[in-house]
Symmetry: C2
Subunit: 352 residues, 2 copies
């Protein structure tokens, strides 16, 4: 049986003012009709039913996520006592899954990425699951770069080690951290480097064993959580070392394999990336809501209510919500996080 | 006795979304604490009391202007049946003033300009009024150009013809229409060209005689209005030729004189001009209301309510009101009018 672990711990700073602590990106319909997390779960339909979907999120969003995922049993939407990065989250997910089915294969999915078409994605997951069930090992999905991105880690694809359901499975030569632009250009030119999309597949017991091997202290914490109940979770989880699964395990483990994506992937990392998912006006601006753009090009404008009028501007993101408005140069969209940090420092809780 | 005629017929398109038909620029506190028209009347204090101030405006704003000018008798705030340009408005004002005092001197003032300091302005007006009472003639005020503006008409100052209360009075060589940039540069370099600020002074009977001489048909209409009552006004006024006082009279009359302004003048023609009257943030942005500007320079940001956050932008005007938001390149602020024309064409009455 394949289980899915959806990681939904995002704090929603980058899509302010639409995203807030209580409604981070994964709960917004940024790239479609439904909240991103609902599309993530829907994408699995036919491979993993909602009854085998587990969600890890922060406590502030548990009830909103339960509402957004009516098919997922409420008990399987778990609020982490504390954000402890992906090794802790994936370890906890693997504990939950393996308690239910000791031989379970699990896929790990970020809650807020866009992946199309879903059928091709399911074929990749299915191939990885079959290989994991048969051969063991840790499987990661690599995306052919469309440009020299500096915001992702890269995977150097090695030789082919198997075919699973007609999908080639490659050895991983090595993982590399987010590169600078020059290095990223080399990676793209090389042709063997893939973006690490943060999507994984393995048997729950294999990833638990790998964590225990590479990070014994985390392994012991997870074992105590497995044996204990809610109180053990509350006690142990916040003590777990904060470290990413890439750094703690994937870069070190010997049995890591990569499947190259035969689907389009977009992590929609900031307002700069949402344009393709919005309607276009006559001048090619991406607009949603009551927007009037006059001699305006290359802008992304969202209004959830009243008229937003743009005159003679270019390359901007404009987002108007009921209680705040953002005007940002699109190539500075990463800095919206800084703005939210500033609002936090100013203790403007109503806007967070 | 000096009377003042305040021309307040502006339709308020250029300061949208703050200005609307019912609250055009002259009713906004754009450059100070009070509505611009209240500051215009206040500026006369000591020279012309509110009891001798007359206001011509459009019907939609009569009651708001009466509220904004509690010292001005309500009957002296008159709604024009129809906007007929400055010859009709000034002629009507001169009729109203001369009925009360056949020998009255009147000053004509736009309702929505910034003039500082007020004392220097009153000295100029007082000098012009004394000259008009003594010698007759039509007096206009010229502003030393601070740059090659193409949005104003210019006055070529001729030789000095008199001193009035220590203020030099010059002949007007000629009026010139709004020039192109090259011509404007020549005017500035020449040194004798002044901006026509649209501020005048004369005896009411002299301007009526000049209108009757240069535009006999308008003169006859005004005479019928003088003899008739409200019904004559309603009947005659909309038929008056739409023509500016500059074009119909000033450019043709022989007895026109100019007094050079010893005060700073600003017609605050668009959002691009309001910066100097707003508070500054640390980065030199002009801001009013709840504004957070991060790595943002050279912007004018107003919010009448919720937070407006700007990130990484420069040279923008951002104005947020309760029912609309504007984002405009500052050097395109003139085009806000186009936007409002578009809203009119779309019949979005609630936003006009």
């Amino acid at each position: 049986m394949i289980h899915a672990l959806v990681l939904a711990g995002g704090s929603g700073k980058r899509f302010w003012p639409l995203s807030r602590r209580a409604t981070p990106k994964q709960l917004l319909a940024i790239a479609g009709e439904k909240p991103m997390i609902a599309e993530t779960v829907e994408r699995l339909r036919g491979l993993v039913p909602p009854s085998r979907v587990h969600v890890l999120t922060n406590k502030a969003t548990v009830s909103a996520i339960r509402k957004a995922l009516p098919g997922v049993p409420a008990a399987q939407v778990v609020g982490e006592p504390d954000g402890r990065d992906t090794t802790a989250a994936i370890g906890l997910g693997a504990v939950l899954v393996s308690k239910r089915d000791p031989d379970a294969v699990m896929v790990v999915l970020p809650a807020d990425h866009v992946i199309r078409p879903a059928a091709a994605f399911r074929r990749s997951l299915s191939a990885a699951a079959a290989a994991a069930r048969r051969d063991g090992g840790l499987y990661v999905f690599g995306v052919k770069p469309t440009g020299p991105a500096t915001g992702y880690g890269y995977i150097l694809r090695g030789g082919k080690v198997a075919d699973s359901k007609g999908v080639p499975v490659h050895r991983v030569e090595r993982f590399v951290e987010k590169p600078d632009l020059e290095t990223a250009r080399k990676y793209v030119a090389d042709g063997r480097f893939l973006w690490n999309a943060g999507i994984f597949c393995w048997r729950a017991k294999d990833i638990l064993a790998a964590i225990a091997r590479e990070r014994p202290a985390i392994g012991r914490s997870l074992e105590r959580i497995r044996k204990g109940g809610a109180s053990a979770l509350a006690r142990e989880f916040p003590r777990i070392e904060k470290v990413s699964i890439d750094y703690a395990v994937m870069e070190k483990a010997a049995d890591v394999r990569v499947i190259e994506a035969a689907w389009a992937w977009d992590d929609v990392g900031s307002w700069a990336s949402v344009g393709p998912y919005l309607p276009r006006d006559g001048a090619g601006n991406a607009v949603r809501g009551d927007v009037l753009a006059v001699e305006t090009t290359d802008c992304t404008v969202l209004s959830d209510g009243h008229l937003v009028a743009a005159v003679g501007v270019t390359g901007l993101v404009i987002v108007r919500t009921k209680d705040a408005t953002l005007v940002c140069r699109r190539d500075r969209a990463q800095d919206v996080k800084k703005l939210v940090d500033l609002l936090e420092a100013q203790k403007r809780a109503r806007l967070l």
